[in-house]
Symmetry: C2
Subunit: 109 residues, 2 copies
């Protein structure tokens, strides 16, 4: 996907959408970790929470890759995960939206 050009305006929209998704997903992790922290009764619960955070950190680090060559795929994953919707991507060129939709319909098959 290296052939896709991003205009200055699109870069701004992309950056905002990317950050919005990151904040939403992190807010969800915070909510989950607070609930888990409350429920811990035994030492093993600590290590369970640590494992949960290790997994989330790896997942987030891998997913939130802001390279323009990767963004279409990243946005498709974020829409699929429920962290973005197409309204957040309003203003991107039609061919980009189509590529995202095409990935989503491919995954849903």
């Amino acid at each position: 996907m290296n052939d896709i050009k991003w205009s200055k305006g699109e870069k701004k929209i992309a950056r905002a959408a990317f950050e919005k998704a990151y904040k939403r997903e992190c807010a969800d992790i915070i909510k989950k970790l607070r609930a888990k922290a409350k429920e811990i009764k035994e030492p093993d619960g600590i290590w369970g929470l640590h494992d949960f955070l290790t997994e989330k950190r790896e997942e987030i680090d891998e997913k939130y890759d802001y390279r323009y060559s990767r963004l279409i795929l990243v946005f498709a994953m974020l829409v699929k995960g429920g962290w973005l919707d197409f309204n957040d991507l309003k203003g991107l060129a039609e061919n980009k939206i189509e590529r995202i939709e095409s990935l989503l319909s491919f995954w849903n098959e």
Copy 2:
């Protein structure tokens, strides 16, 4: 410290003290992680909490080494850290208590 022999009764006391310290220290970690979880406002706070737990896990894994050849050193560290006191070690032979005290006074010099 491989020359130290542990009687059956001492092994029972040692195991109970070891587990008591582990539970106390883990209860302290649970308390701290709950307080930290409550205070998280930004995504970075998640990774800060993850770092805290990674550090604690490594520390605990290294410290709680139940080999009889290591126990004198382990108990000295646990007394020094405030996770055990000499009452918890009551019933161990005098020479073991002396070795623990001697390590503590060496560290406090």
